[in-house]
């Protein structure tokens, strides 16, 4: 570790103003502050410092995402073997290896495009590189289906980093979740690669790994639920749904892996338990409401727990609704914000057959309303205090 620090110190002069690698200052700065907590302190005013800075928080979220990533990888291989009818003859590590071969290019593209833009902007503005993309860049490959081509992923990432983040002033200033904007962009611009029944299972051989399956189609559990034949056609056991062995976006399928991440986020206090809990409460409340009011709607009649474990509900609730930048800031506001996401997600799933998955749109909608929720909470508090004051006198 000492050697790394010494090496960083040795190459530092090259990157400073006048050095020969001046153009890569932001890159060096980003790497240095990522590896070591920066030593410098604020020059003016009184500042409260947390024990960990935002780069360390981001690293924690990345660690929390790892279980979903690994299960997602395994699931890619598993679904591929399932499509080829060779689950019994394929070893688990072969499935994992195949999953890695499919997933790695997506992660590389997402990071390369996003960080490329981030470094360019930071260098151009003469600012420090923002760390937010560390998490976003890993979430983006996890919320798209395996069939999403890399060039579309690259365009969508560039679009969202520029228009959802940099134009607002970078990390911490964006009003909507950047990873979800990437998904929404793909969803509206290239609907054929993110919906339908051809994109959820990888069917190509890569470097001799996996199986070549032609003309295979397989809908997600939610699409089955909204379809004619109902969830039974998906042929899934509850344990499959919990472990995540079903077609879906790469990282969203496994409830258990997401729960592991959630435990880490809650234990370290990075994510707010209030938001997370109220998303589930909102979802359950809306499910129960529809169960009694819409007896003929097959989606509404599914038991409420299937709604929670299918699709992106858990992933959204744990990793996206709790994004501290775009969620409500006030403590009361977090309950309202979370409840709104859960309720809206189920509302879209049940009442709009065009969108079998409502979580993305629900979170984006509540992201936009979050400042308004905060405003109302603050104002009602101001009024309550004013009333208390006048009563006393």
């Amino acid at each position: 570790m000492k050697a790394l620090r010494n090496y960083l110190n040795k190459i530092k002069p090259n990157f400073e103003k006048g050095g020969k690698l001046q153009a890569f200052r932001s890159l060096y700065d980003g790497m240095e502050t990522f590896l070591y907590v920066p030593n410098d302190t604020a020059k003016s005013g009184v500042n409260i410092h947390d024990a960990i800075d935002s780069k360390r928080i981001m690293s924690l979220v990345v660690i929390a995402l790892l279980p979903s990533l690994l299960v997602g990888m395994y699931n890619i291989g598993y679904q591929n073997a399932l499509a080829a009818g060779a689950v019994d003859t394929t070893a688990w590590w072969q499935m994992c290896l195949y999953g890695l071969a499919v997933l790695l290019p997506k992660i590389v593209v997402s990071y390369a495009v996003g960080l490329g833009i981030e470094f360019t902007v930071a260098q151009f503005k003469g600012e420090e590189i923002h760390e937010g993309f560390l998490v976003t860049g890993l979430i983006i490959p996890l919320v798209v289906p395996v069939g999403c081509p890399l060039w579309i992923l690259a365009i969508a990432t560039a679009f969202s980093v520029i228009f959802a983040k940099e134009v607002f002033g970078g990390t911490g200033m964006n009003i909507v979740n950047v990873a979800l904007i990437t998904r929404a962009f793909i969803f509206f611009a290239y609907p054929s690669v993110i919906s339908g029944d051809k994109v959820w299972v990888a069917t190509e051989q890569i470097f001799g790994l996996g199986y070549q399956v032609d003309g295979y189609s397989c809908a997600t559990a939610l699409q089955h639920l909204a379809g004619e034949s109902g969830l039974a056609a998906a042929n899934l056991s509850v344990s499959d749904m919990l472990i995540g062995l079903m077609p879906g976006s790469i990282g969203e399928t496994s409830v258990i892996a997401i729960a592991l991440g959630a435990i880490l986020l809650l234990w370290t206090g990075v994510a707010s338990w209030k938001t997370m809990l109220s998303v589930f409460v909102g979802g359950i409340a809306m499910c129960l409401l529809f169960q009694y009011t819409l007896p003929t709607n097959p989606v509404a009649q599914a038991p409420f727990y299937t709604h929670l474990i299918l699709g992106g509900f858990c992933f959204g609730a744990v990793f996206m609704a709790t994004d501290p930048v775009t969620s409500a800031r006030t403590e009361t506001g977090k309950y309202i914000y979370g409840f709104g996401i859960g309720a809206m997600a189920i509302l879209i799933r049940v009442l709009n057959p065009g969108y079998p998955e409502g979580m993305m749109l629900a979170i984006l909608l509540m992201n936009v309303t979050a400042p308004f929720i905060d405003y109302c909470v603050v104002q009602s508090n101001v009024k309550a205090r004013a009333r208390r004051l006048t009563k006393k006198n």
Partner: protein, 210 residues
């Protein structure tokens, strides 16, 4: 002759193209810029229609500007514009029926286009007919310019065609997995494109930065 192309008149004609563009600087006429720009052809027709109407309305109002009672000037301007819009609409129906169907209500809605009322109020009411004519032509073409730029990108990336010529297909892009961007055909993308044009323009011209 020199007076016809005086500095002031040249200015009236040329400034709407860039530094006083009705769409990107004054942010007028956005509604139709979103609505008719998903194909290049209707955008060109729309741009030309607005140019003709602004120029003629400017000339007519400028000619009668001294006799218009101040209190009812808006009504009179509207009557003139409405008459011209109806004429253009009829001409389009007669000679370019397909395009007029594509443009549907937006030709009629030129009446409510802010650029028209803006030019009549701000320019034609104070200036002579020749200067007003140049101003109208300039503003109409400035508007058309932005429409055409936006429509170019929307049609090329949204439908893969240009003036209905299948560009992307001829380039063989579909065979290597290219897919048209459906978002380009929706109105939000026109917002993004206009925003990008405004962004580039203001980055280049410091005097426009607020």
């Amino acid at each position: 002759m020199a007076a016809l192309f005086s500095k002031k008149n040249q200015e009236a004609f040329s400034s709407p193209f860039l530094k006083n563009n009705p769409v990107t600087v004054q942010v007028l006429g956005i509604c139709s810029a979103l609505a008719v720009t998903n194909k290049l052809e209707p955008a060109i027709v729309m741009g030309l229609s607005v140019t003709v109407i602004v120029a003629m309305a400017n000339v007519i109002i400028s000619l009668i500007r001294k006799t218009i009672p101040n209190r009812i000037r808006i009504i009179i301007q509207l009557v003139v514009v409405a008459a011209l819009v109806t004429m253009v609409s009829e001409v389009l129906k007669a000679f370019a029926y397909d395009v007029s169907v594509q443009l549907s209500v937006y030709i009629g809605l030129i009446i409510t286009n802010c650029i028209l009322m803006g030019r009549l109020e701000a320019f034609a009411m104070q200036n002579g007919p020749w200067a007003s004519f140049l101003d109208g032509i300039g503003n109409g073409l400035g508007y058309a310019l932005i429409l055409i730029i936006v429509a170019f990108f929307r049609e090329l990336f949204g439908s893969g065609t240009l003036l209905n010529y299948p560009v992307m297909e001829k380039l063989g892009l579909y065979e290597i997995g290219y897919i048209n961007n459906g978002l380009m055909l929706m109105a939000p993308m026109a917002f993004f494109l206009i925003a990008c044009i405004i962004w580039v323009q203001r980055a280049k011209d410091k005097s426009l930065q607020e």
